[in-house]
C-alpha cells in the first residue's frame, strides 16, 4: 500500500474516517446562495422604457454607411479548425483622445496556409464624428490601419484595451493564434509593437479574452489573459463527428486546458508573469470571457472568468498581490442545479441597483443565460431561471454581452450576439452555417427581464454568427451603441436611436500621470429623487472585446443629479456635489471641490 493512500486503508481499531475525514474542508458562508431566501431587488422607480413610436427603429446598423466596410474571414473550408469557431473580437476605444470612439476589428484568414492576402489583417478605423451646432451629427470612419503601425496579420481572435504606460493614450492587446501582441499607442494614431520587450506574448497560450486591471493599486494596469485550450496546431487538429458521423467543430475539452496568465505591470514597459504566485491554485480551464470588478465591496478589484464547459472562476483579491479562487464557495461557479455550463461572454454590473456587481453570462443552446445575483459580499444566487433571462435565451448560443442601459431608464439591460457551434440543419449550404439572430432584453426593474428583440429594429432580425460585442456611445449622443463582430460575416455598428430620449449623465473618469481612464473606478450617481445608481469604469467583459470605458448613466424619470461619488481604484474617494446632465463630463482624480 502506498503511503498517500494510507488514509483510505482499513482502519486501525475500526474507527472510520477515511481520506475525507482528514480534509479540513472549506469555511463557507453560503447563507444567501441557496436561492429563494434573499429580499427581492430594491425597486426605486418604474422603468418607463423607450417611447412607443413604431416608426423609430431602436437600433440601426450604420457600419457600412459610416465607412466600416469590414467582412471577417475565418477561413473555414471544411477542415473544422477549432480557432475558426471563436473570433472575432471588436474594440471601441478613443485612440487619439479626440473625444470619440475609434474602432478596431479582429481579422482572420484561411488556415493551413500562410496568410497570402495582406488585406486580411486586423483593421483600425478612426472616428471622424462631426457634431454640428444644432446637435445633429454624422458618423464617418476612416480605415487608418496602413499608417497606424499595427501589423496584425496573424489569425486574430480577440482584443483588449488599456493605457499600460500611463501616457494618456490607450494601448491595444491583440490576441492571436500563435502569440499575442501588445501595441503601445504613441499618439497621433501611431502604434508600436512592444510585445517582446513587455513579455506579454502569452506563449504557450491560446486566448480570446483579456482584461486590464490595477490589482495591486500601484497605478499601472496589469493584465489578466484568459486562456482557452491547449491548441497544439492545425496539423494536430482533432476530428469530432456527431452520432451520425457528420463532422463538426470539437468542444474545448478535446484539446485539454491551459492556465490563464496574470501579468504584473512593472511600470517600466515590462510585464512579469506572476500567475504561479498570485493566482493560488490556478488550474487549466477553458476561459472565454473575463470581467473585473470589486465583487465584495472591499475596494480591491477581483476577477471573474467565464469558462466553456467547466466551473467558472472567481479570483478574489486578497489585497496582498494574490488572489484566492472562490467561485464554488461563492455560488458563482455553476448553476443552481449544480452544472458547469458553457459560459462564453460575461459582464458585471449592478442590474438591480442595490449597489453591488451582479453577473450575466451567455451560454450554449438549451442552457440559457445565467444571472448570478450578488448579495454585496460576493455571495451569489443563480437567478437565471426566475429572471426570465435563462428561459428566453435557451434557443441561443450567446457570446458578446454586457450590462448596459439601452433606454436610459436607470436599469441595466442586456444584449447578446449569438451564433451556434453546431451546424444548423438546413443551413449547411451556407458558407458558415452557424447563424442566429441577436437578443435584447429589457430590465423590468423587478428582477425580471423582457425579451424586446422583436421591437429593436431590423438589424436584430439579421441572422449571423455573432461573437464579439463592444458597447459605447459611438456618436456621443447620450446612449449606448453596439459594435458587433460576426464570425465569417460583416461587422455591424448598431446605433441607438432611443436611449437619449431620457436624461443621462456621461462621465469619463481619469487620473494618474497621463490622466488615463481609471478602469475599476466606481461611481455613485445620486439622482434628484435621492436614489443612487452605481456604475463602473470598465473596458473588459463581453467576449473577446473591449468597450468604451466611459460611464453612461441613464437617469430615467429624473432630470438632474444631486451628487456624484467616485471610488477610485486606489482606494481614494471623491465627491462632486453637481455634474451637468445630458452631456459628457470628465472627472479628473483629485479635482473635486
Amino acid at each position: 500500500m502506498r503511503f498517500a493512500d494510507a488514509h483510505r486503508a482499513p482502519l486501525w481499531h475500526h474507527v472510520s474516517h477515511g481520506a475525507r475525514g482528514w480534509c479540513l474542508g472549506l469555511t463557507l458562508s453560503l447563507a444567501a446562495c441557496a436561492g429563494g431566501d434573499a429580499a427581492p431587488p430594491t425597486v426605486v422607480d418604474t422603468p418607463s422604457g423607450p417611447p412607443a413610436d413604431p416608426s423609430v427603429e431602436w437600433f440601426t446598423d450604420e457600419a457600412q454607411a459610416s465607412g466600416i466596410d469590414f467582412i471577417h474571414v475565418n477561413g473555414a473550408a471544411g477542415q473544422f479548425y477549432y480557432p475558426e469557431i471563436l473570433p472575432p473580437g471588436v474594440a471601441l476605444f478613443d485612440m487619439d483622445n479626440d473625444g470619440d470612439l475609434d474602432v478596431y476589428l479582429v481579422q482572420g484568414h484561411p488556415l493551413g496556409t500562410p496568410n497570402a492576402n495582406p488585406e486580411l489583417r486586423g483593421r483600425l478605423y478612426r472616428n471622424d464624428l462631426e457634431v454640428r451646432p444644432d446637435g445633429s451629427r454624422s458618423l464617418r470612419f476612416v480605415d487608418v490601419t496602413a499608417q497606424s503601425g499595427i501589423e496584425a496579420v496573424a489569425y486574430g481572435l480577440g482584443v483588449a484595451a488599456g493605457d499600460v504606460d500611463n501616457d494618456g493614450f490607450v494601448d491595444l492587446y491583440l490576441m492571436h493564434l500563435g502569440g499575442n501582441q501588445l501595441y503601445r499607442n504613441r499618439g497621433g494614431g501611431r502604434f508600436v509593437d512592444i510585445t517582446a520587450t513587455s513579455g506579454t506574448a502569452n506563449q504557450p497560450g491560446f486566448a480570446v479574452s483579456a482584461a486590464f486591471l490595477d490589482y495591486d493599486r500601484d497605478g499601472a494596469l496589469d493584465l489578466y489573459v484568459g486562456n482557452n485550450v491547449n491548441y497544439r496546431g492545425l496539423d494536430k487538429e482533432s476530428i469530432c463527428p456527431n452520432p451520425a458521423g457528420a463532422r463538426d467543430y470539437c468542444p474545448p475539452q478535446i484539446y485539454g486546458g491551459i492556465r490563464d496568465r496574470l501579468y504584473h505591470n512593472e511600470g517600466d514597459g515590462r510585464f512579469t508573469d506572476v500567475s504561479a504566485t498570485a493566482l493560488v491554485g490556478l488550474r487549466p480551464a477553458p476561459a472565454l470571457g473575463v470581467s473585473t470588478a470589486d465583487f465584495d465591496g472591499d475596494g480591491w478589484i477581483d476577477i471573474y472568468v467565464a469558462d466553456d464547459g467547466a466551473d467558472n472562476l472567481l479570483w478574489m483579491n486578497q489585497r496582498n498581490g494574490t488572489f484566492r479562487e472562490s467561485a464554488l464557495t461563492s455560488g458563482a461557479a455553476i448553476t443552481a442545479e449544480g452544472k458547469a455550463e458553457a459560459s462564453m461572454g460575461v459582464d458585471a454590473g449592478d442590474y438591480d441597483n442595490d449597489g453591488d456587481e451582479d453577473l450575466v453570462m451567455t451560454e450554449l443552446t438549451s442552457q440559457g443565460f445565467n444571472l448570478f445575483v450578488n448579495d454585496g459580499a460576493a455571495r451569489f444566487r443563480d437567478q437565471g431561471a426566475v429572471s426570465g433571462l435563462g428561459p428566453a435565451s435557451m434557443p441561443y448560443t450567446g457570446w458578446g454581452t454586457a450590462w448596459f442601459d439601452y433606454d436610459n431608464d436607470g436599469w441595466l439591460d442586456t444584449f447578446s450576439a449569438n451564433g451556434t457551434i453546431i451546424t444548423l440543419e438546413g443551413h449547411d449550404r451556407a458558407a458558415f452555417p452557424y447563424d442566429q439572430t441577436r437578443l435584447l432584453f429589457r430590465n423590468l426593474g423587478n428582477g425580471r427581464f423582457e425579451d424586446v428583440t422583436a421591437r429593436a429594429g431590423a438589424s436584430f432580425a439579421l441572422s449571423e454568427s455573432g461573437r464579439g460585442a463592444a458597447f459605447g456611445d459611438v456618436d456621443n449622443d447620450g446612449d449606448v451603441d453596439i459594435l458587433v463582430g460576426n464570425d465569417a460575416g460583416r461587422a455591424r455598428l448598431l446605433i441607438n436611436h432611443v436611449g437619449n430620449r431620457q436624461h443621462w449623465l456621461g462621465l469619463r473618469l481619469v487620473g494618474g500621470p497621463g490622466d488615463r481612464d481609471q478602469l475599476g473606478a466606481r461611481v455613485g450617481v445620486t439622482r434628484s429623487d435621492g436614489t443612487v445608481l452605481w456604475r463602473r469604469v470598465r473596458a473588459d467583459g463581453s467576449y473577446a472585446s473591449a468597450s468604451d470605458p466611459r460611464v453612461l448613466v441613464g437617469l430615467g424619470g429624473t432630470n438632474a443629479v444631486s451628487a456624484v461619488d467616485v471610488w477610485w481604484p486606489d482606494g481614494g474617494r471623491e465627491h462632486w456635489p453637481t455634474v451637468p446632465v445630458d452631456t459628457w463630463t470628465t472627472l479628473q482624480k483629485g479635482s473635486a471641490k
Binding site: M1, P10, V15, G35, N230, A336, E425
Partner: protein
C-alpha cells in the same frame, strides 16, 4: 427559436396534405406523401443506408392501399427517430408531427417532439408536449420527471413540484424524481424538505453526486455551514435523469462508429464488459482505424481479464494514432504494472507530449522514473505535477519521498513543514514519519513527531498512522511500547487481509525487538 428556425430553410421531411379539390363538396381523405430526404451526404454510409431504407419503406407503406394509418404513423415515426438520432431535428419534427396526425393516441410522438423542443431550448413548447404525453399516459414516469425538470428550468418550481410528487407516488425509489423534488423544494425556500429529499437521493444512489451541490445550498440556507462545506467538496459534475427507455433506444438506433462507442461506454458504466466489447467491435467493423474504439475495446478486454488481447488493442490504438494520448497512458499503466518501467516511461512521455496537463500521466511517469533510479528526473516530474495540480497530495508526497531517496532530508522536512501548515493531515503524517525516522540526526525530532501524532490521533486512526506512532516510540527509546503497538497493528493487518503491510510491520517489529529505531521513512512499496 427566432434564430435557428427563421433561417433553417427547407424542412427536410414533411407530410404534404394535398387537398384534392377546393369545392365545398365533401373533401376526400387527404393524400400523404413523403417529402424528399434532407441532405444526408455528410453522414457515414451506414447511417445513410439506414435512412434511405426506412425512407423507401415509408414510401412503400404510403402507396400500399392496405396499410393502416397506424402502420403509416409508425413508418413516419421510425424515420423521424433516425433523423432525430442523426441530429436533424427539423426533419425529425416534421416526421413526428405527421406520425402524430396519423395516430394521435401514440404517446411516443409527442414525447420525442418534447425532447426536440427541449434540446433546442424551447422549454414552453417542451412542457406542453410532455403534458400532452401525460394526457395519454398519466403515469409516464419519464414524462413526469422531464416536465418537472422543464418547469424548474423556466423558474416555475411551484409547477414542477406536483410532477415530481406524482412521480414519487408511482416510484418512491426514483432518484431523478426525488432529485427534482429536492431542487423544487430548494427553489421555493423549503430548505428542510430539500435536505431530506436530496439526502435520500444520495442514500438511494451514492453515485448521484450532482445532488451534493443543491444539498450544499440547502444546508447553507439552514445555517449548517459544516454540512454545506462537506457537500460542496463532494459535488461532482453529472446528470441525474430518468431511465428514459424511449430516448435510450433512440440513442442506440444509428449504425455508426460513434453510436456503437456510446453504447459501449454505457455498457462499461453498467460493468457489462462483454457487452461493451461487442459494441466496440461493431464500431471497429465500420471504422477499423478509429483509435478511440481500439482503446475502448482494449479497456473492456482488460476488465474481462484478457490482458494479452487488451495490450494488443492498446498497441493498435497508438499505431493508428500516436497522438491518441489515452491509449498511450493506458499502455503505460499496463507496462508499469509489469515492472517494465523504461517502456512505461516512453508511453507516459508520449501522452504528456500531447496533453501536458495530464496529471495522472505525470505522476505515473515520475513513479516509473523513480523506480528506474532516475531520481532527479522523477523529482522534476513531481515538481511539475505539484504546480499543475496543487490539490493532488500524491504529487507532493511523491516529491518528498524522492527527496528522501536523494538523502535530501532537510529539503523534505521543509517541504512537509510548508505543506502541513496548510492543514492537510496527509502532510502532517508524512512530516511526523520523517521526524521519527530520517537518517539525518539533525532532521529527526521524536518529540515533535509524537506531538503531531497525538494531534492526529484525535481525528482518527489508520494502520499507517499506528505504524508511524510505533516508529516515533522507537525513536524516543520506548521500544517496549513500540513492540506492543506493532503487534496490535500486525493483528489488525491480518484481520484486514493486508499481507504486504503485515510483512512490512513484521520487519519493523524485528527492529524494535532488537531495540533499533527505524531509519527508513518509507519503503519502496509505500512510495507512489
Amino acid at each position: 427559436m427566432r434564430g435557428t428556425r427563421a433561417a433553417a430553410g427547407a424542412v427536410a421531411l414533411t407530410a404534404v396534405l394535398l387537398a384534392a379539390c377546393s369545392s365545398p363538396a365533401p373533401a376526400p381523405a387527404p393524400a400523404i406523401q413523403a417529402a424528399p430526404l434532407p441532405d444526408i451526404a455528410k453522414l457515414v454510409p451506414s447511417v445513410q443506408k439506414q435512412i434511405t431504407v426506412q425512407h423507401e419503406y415509408l414510401k412503400a407503406r404510403l402507396t400500399d392501399p392496405t396499410t393502416t394509418p397506424t402502420d403509416r404513423s409508425n413508418a413516419f415515426g421510425e424515420l423521424a427517430k433516425l433523423f432525430m438520432a442523426a441530429q436533424l431535428p427539423e426533419a425529425a419534427e416534421a416526421g413526428f408531427r405527421t406520425a402524430q396526425s396519423l395516430n394521435p393516441d401514440d404517446y411516443r410522438w409527442p414525447y420525442y417532439l418534447a425532447h426536440i423542443a427541449r434540446t433546442q431550448g424551447d422549454l414552453p413548447k417542451a412542457a406542453g408536449l410532455f403534458e400532452e404525453v401525460l394526457r395519454r399516459r398519466p403515469d409516464d414516469m419519464d414524462a413526469l420527471v422531464w416536465l418537472g425538470d422543464v418547469n424548474l428550468a423556466v423558474g416555475r418550481p411551484e409547477s414542477a413540484a406536483p410532477s415530481f410528487a406524482r412521480a414519487l407516488t408511482l416510484d418512491p425509489n426514483s432518484v431523478s424524481a426525488r432529485y427534482g423534488a429536492g431542487r423544487a423544494a430548494l427553489a421555493t425556500g423549503d430548505y428542510r424538505k430539500a435536505v431530506a429529499l436530496l439526502e435520500e437521493v444520495l442514500r438511494l444512489n451514492p453515485k448521484a453526486t450532482a445532488a451534493h451541490y443543491p444539498l450544499s445550498q440547502a444546508h447553507a440556507a439552514l445555517g449548517n455551514q459544516e454540512q454545506s462545506a462537506e457537500h460542496l467538496r463532494l459535488r461532482r459534475d453529472g446528470r441525474i435523469a430518468p431511465r428514459d427507455t424511449l430516448m435510450v433506444e433512440l440513442d442506440s438506433l444509428l449504425e455508426s462508429p460513434q453510436t456503437f462507442e456510446s453504447i459501449g461506454i454505457r455498457r462499461l458504466d453498467d460493468e457489462d464488459w462483454t457487452g461493451a466489447a461487442e459494441q466496440f467491435r461493431k464500431g471497429l467493423a465500420l471504422a477499423p482505424d478509429n483509435a478511440a474504439l481500439h482503446h475502448r475495446l482494449a479497456t473492456a478486454l482488460n476488465l474481462m481479464g484478457d490482458e494479452k488481447s487488451s495490450r494488443a488493442e492498446f498497441e493498435i490504438a497508438i499505431t493508428k494514432d500516436p497522438e491518441y494520448f489515452p491509449a498511450q497512458f493506458s499502455l503505460g499503466v499496463l507496462l508499469q504494472a509489469d515492472g517494465r518501467h523504461a517502456q512505461a516511461v516512453d508511453r507516459f512521455t508520449a501522452a504528456l507530449r500531447v496533453r501536458p496537463t495530464y496529471t495522472e500521466a505525470r505522476l505515473r511517469l515520475a513513479s516509473s522514473l523513480r523506480r528506474l533510479g532516475r531520481l532527479n528526473e522523477a523529482l522534476d516530474e513531481y515538481s511539475q505535477a505539484m504546480a499543475g495540480a496543487p490539490e493532488r497530495s500524491e504529487a507532493r508526497i511523491g516529491y518528498v519521498m524522492v527527496l528522501t531517496k536523494l538523502r535530501r532530508y532537510r529539503d523534505a522536512r521543509e517541504t512537509l513543514n510548508e505543506a502541513a501548515a496548510a492543514g492537510d493531515l496527509v502532510f502532517t503524517h508524512a512530516l511526523a514519519r520523517l521526524l521519527a525516522t530520517a537518517p539525518d540526526a539533525s532532521v529527526r525530532d521524536g518529540r515533535r513527531s509524537l506531538a503531531l501524532i497525538q494531534q492526529m490521533l484525535e481525528k482518527g486512526r489508520t494502520l499507517e498512522l499506528g505504524e508511524t506512532y510505533a516508529m516515533t516510540l522507537a525513536e524516543l527509546g520506548q521500544f517496549r511500547e513500540a513492540q506492543s503497538l506493532q503487534r496490535d497493528l500486525i493483528a489488525a493487518a491480518d484481520r484486514a487481509k493486508l499481507p504486504a503491510l503485515r510483512r512490512r510491520l513484521v520487519e519493523r517489529l524485528a527492529l524494535y525487538d532488537r531495540a533499533d529505531p527505524c531509519r527508513t521513512p518509507w519503503t519502496d512499496d509505500e512510495m507512489p
